[in-house]
């Protein structure tokens, strides 16, 4: 079966997020004053072939842990949808 995997990679709590802070710092100058706590992460999507939704999910989680994220600085949220 075909699944669509979507992985949200976010900076871990407590780890500085230079990208987010830089955006946040520049917002007031651009007239966006009402925003706070900007965090920038990554969004990874792909199609995956697996026997079942469970199998797809565990495959994607394995990819996440071994390769797609670095647990020292990142957290991941995995979503797998049948297509």
């Amino acid at each position: 079966m075909q699944f669509e995997a979507k992985i949200e990679v976010s900076p871990r709590d407590g780890i500085a997020n230079p990208e987010g802070s830089t955006i946040e710092r520049s917002l007031p100058a651009l007239g966006f004053e009402m925003t706070r706590n900007v965090r920038v992460g990554k969004l990874i999507r792909f199609e995956v072939e697996a026997e079942s939704a469970d199998a797809a999910r565990s495959l994607v989680e394995d990819m996440c842990n071994r390769f797609l994220t670095n647990p020292v600085i990142e957290d991941a949220a995995v979503e797998v949808l049948e297509t």
């Binding site: 955006i23 710092r25 520049s26 917002l27 100058a29 651009l30």
Partner: protein
């Protein structure tokens, strides 16, 4: 292969005029089909065919005994001795950068690098002359930041150091930035390869990235059309290309390895007009023809039409011409570098370019390969000076509120915010990097790495203010400035490349500017004995029908004959004498075209100061000689902002000030009389130095001495180094890096 006479809307939409269509009709002896029409339209676009500028470019001097390859190939190549050849080229990526600054600049760097390794050279340096709208315009800031990150992001990652450039902000570039990129590479002289296909039966192999729909029609739509507020937008958007420096790096290594192993007989990069250009150019240069199988092209998307595959400008691709017996080895090296390689063409003997669906399949297009280039139209467009030229020249540019201290503080600007984002040290060659006059690199043998004890110097220079006031003399002065910059690091010029950034060629005054500029460049290049070995023309630089100020940009390459010691640099030494070398400004020197007049005085007209080209030639030679003989303690040429800005830069660099006699009014501080160089020498050297200068026919005048913690002009003008440093360092960081909006 016949096609019905078609309705004129098709060729017009493709940017071909009715006359051009008629010419194609005649060349083929029949009506072209849509694929053929698309191929002519991309190849006959201004961008690919230089149809408006060709007649003028012919007047440039292009020959010297050391020129191995002049204009017309992918890059110029010169012999620098010790069996080393240098390939150099400059190109513009102005229009793409206006729409997507990061990717526009990134793909500009990628494109110019391919021009260099196409010649068999390993690229070792990039330079990026950049011009943007004013810093107080948010969109201009957005463009500037995106472009700078694009150069940094692509150049650093592909692994070629960016060793210099320019950064200029002016109203004239609002909406139409100029993003020029120069690249230089070195190769063992014997390995020079040309982009040509010969040998019937040889294979054309497409290497690199998959072909996508990006950049379809980019040549005619993106590169040759001006912008106005309405058309800028949705319809052009899908044409943006995304650069992949990692693909380019692997492609570069793979191609150099193929050349090292002697596996290719011709090689050509894919740029404007994509596969159409590469296949027809290689074939017609080699006097051959080619069959191209569109179904063999590896593509990124499904269902691409032949005309899309043939005109796509997807980045990071090369075409190699290979004898069949080398095919296997070529595929092996490609695989090692994880480069996709497809055999897409076969060289034929009949001079025809045939586009086919499978080598034995249907013929989709057939035309004489050479007609795409050699028969491209050539226009001698009407030209005339602007109507108000005489009137403009009568205006006095020296008027305005002059406060010498404040003006000086406003005119100093440290560009390190830009170049500190560029790797400028890779390959361990950079003796003098960005932030000085010319860049100076160690010259080492490209295959053995052996040092020659000599150096390669480069500088890029342009000045739209000078060229707006007087395109002919202004261009002479920028060539002189570029040469003076490399003289300051001890080098003598060998060759020039140029990028002619002008407005709409359908406006007669633009063609006049271009023609004048070419003549000025010719005269200066002849005087400096530095032929033009390559260049690029970018026209239609306009926003809402307003043309940019004429902006020819030149890059000069030279050699330092004995690099045992680094040059003295621009920083002022303590307790020394300061001299100005070169032509002395007339007592009533004009401020026309000066940065002071444009940015402080607010008069853009007038005339340029008198300029003595021969004196500049002698001065450059004398400066280079003095640096080589290590007789100077500091050296810096005088350019934008005149004497005062040059001195300020020298003082800021070392934290040592100077006392200047006289020169205490805005005219003598900020005039931009050309061909001058500031030098510092020890007191006891004075007599001998002035004598040598005189013997070389160079005027040398003591103007003051170094020391102290401020810069003083006469008894009245006194600026502390601290305030100068703060003003200079803060200009860019205060405006850039603070967040921008794209609208």
């Amino acid at each position: 292969m016949s096609a019905a006479p078609e309705d004129a809307s098709v060729h017009r939409a493709l940017g071909l005029s009715d006359e051009e269509y008629e010419q194609i009709h005649e060349l083929l002896g029949r009506h072209p089909n849509h694929l053929e029409l698309a191929m002519y339209s991309v190849m006959w676009s201004e961008h690919c065919s230089y149809k408006s500028s060709k007649v003028h470019l012919k007047r440039l001097p292009t020959e010297a005994p050391w020129v191995l390859v002049g204009p017309g190939e992918n890059a110029g190549v010169i012999d620098v001795g010790d069996d080393i050849a240098v390939a150099i080229r400059i190109e513009s990526h102005n229009h793409p950068s206006a729409i997507e600054p990061y990717q526009g600049a990134a793909t500009g760097v990628g494109g110019i690098l391919r021009d260099i390794f196409t010649m068999g050279a390993r690229p070792i340096a990039v330079m990026d002359p950049l011009r943007f709208g004013p810093l107080d315009d948010p969109r201009s800031r957005w463009i500037a930041e995106g472009v700078i990150s694009g150069v940094s992001g692509y150049g650093n990652s592909v692994g070629v150091p960016t060793v210099g450039g320019e950064i200029v902000f002016d109203e004239t570039y609002k909406g139409n930035p100029l993003v020029n990129v120069l690249a230089m590479g070195v190769l063992p002289s014997e390995r020079l390869v040309l982009g040509q296909a010969s040998g019937v039966g040889n294979l054309a192999i497409l290497l690199g990235a998959a072909t996508g729909r990006d950049g379809i029609g980019g040549v005619s739509v993106l590169a040759s059309a001006g912008f106005d507020e309405n058309s800028e937008g949705a319809d052009k958007r899908p044409s943006v290309q995304v650069g992949d420096p990692f693909e380019e790096k692997r492609l570069l290594e793979a191609c150099l390895e193929l050349l090292d192993e002697g596996l290719v007989s011709g090689i050509q990069d894919l740029g404007g007009a994509g596969i159409t250009c590469a296949t027809s150019e290689t074939a017609s240069r080699g006097g051959a023809g080619m069959d191209v199988d569109v179904s063999a092209i590896h593509s990124r998307e499904e269902g691409m039409e032949p005309f899309e595959l043939m005109t796509s400008e997807s980045q990071e691709r090369m075409l190699a011409i290979v004898e069949p017996e080398h095919l296997e080895k070529v595929l092996e090296i490609s695989a090692q570098w994880e480069i996709t390689a497809s055999v897409i063409g076969r060289v034929t003997g009949n001079g025809q370019l045939r586009i086919m669906d499978g080598f034995e399949g249907e013929v989709l297009a057939e035309l004489p390969a050479s007609t795409l280039h050699d028969d491209a139209p050539e226009y001698n467009r009407p030209m005339s000076p602007p109507d108000d030229l005489t009137e403009r020249r009568l205006r006095d540019a020296s008027q305005g509120p002059a406060n010498c201290v404040e003006d000086l503080l406003a005119l100093v600007c440290d560009p390190s915010w830009v170049y500190s984002q560029y790797d400028h040290q890779l390959f361990l060659n950079t003796v003098v990097g960005p932030g000085n006059d010319g860049t100076l690199l160690r010259l080492r043998h490209p295959s053995t790495g052996e040092e020659t004890g000599r150096g390669l110097a480069m500088s890029t220079d342009g000045n739209h203010r000078w060229c707006y006031v007087d395109p002919r003399q202004g261009t002479k002065m920028i060539v002189a400035e570029a040469v003076m910059n490399i003289a300051c690091v001890g080098a003598n010029p060998l060759a020039v490349v140029n990028c002619l950034n002008f407005g709409n060629p359908e406006h007669p005054e633009i063609m006049w500017q271009l023609s004048e500029s070419v003549d000025g460049m010719s005269e200066a290049c002849i005087a400096f004995n530095a032929p033009v070995v390559g260049g690029n023309v970018s026209l239609y630089n306009e926003t809402n029908a307003v043309d940019i100020a004429p902006t020819p940009v030149v890059g000069v390459l030279g050699v330092h004959p004995d690099l045992s010691e680094p040059p003295p640099g621009i920083g002022l030494p303590p307790d020394s004498l300061l001299l100005v070398l070169g032509q002395e400004p007339e007592s009533d020197v004009s401020m026309g075209g000066s940065r002071w007049a444009w940015e402080v005085g607010c008069c853009k007209d007038g005339v340029l100061p008198e300029f003595d080209l021969d004196h500049a030639v002698r001065t450059a030679a004398f400066v280079a000689e003095s640096v080589q003989k290590q007789r100077l303690k500091a050296v810096h040429d005088v350019g934008e902002g005149g004497l005062a800005v040059a001195l300020a830069e020298m003082a800021i660099r070392s934290g040592i000030g100077a006392k200047i006699k006289n020169h205490d009014n805005h005219i003598s501080m900020f005039n931009e009389s050309g061909g001058r160089v500031l030098v510092a020498i020890e007191n006891r050297e004075l007599d001998d130095f002035v004598k040598t200068a005189a013997a070389r026919g160079v005027t040398a005048k003591v103007i003051g001495e170094t020391g102290g913690s401020s810069l003083q002009f006469g008894p009245m003008v006194d600026v502390s180094l601290e305030s100068l440093t703060v003003a200079s360092e803060n200009q860019l960081p205060e405006a850039l890096g603070q967040g921008t909006v794209n609208a």
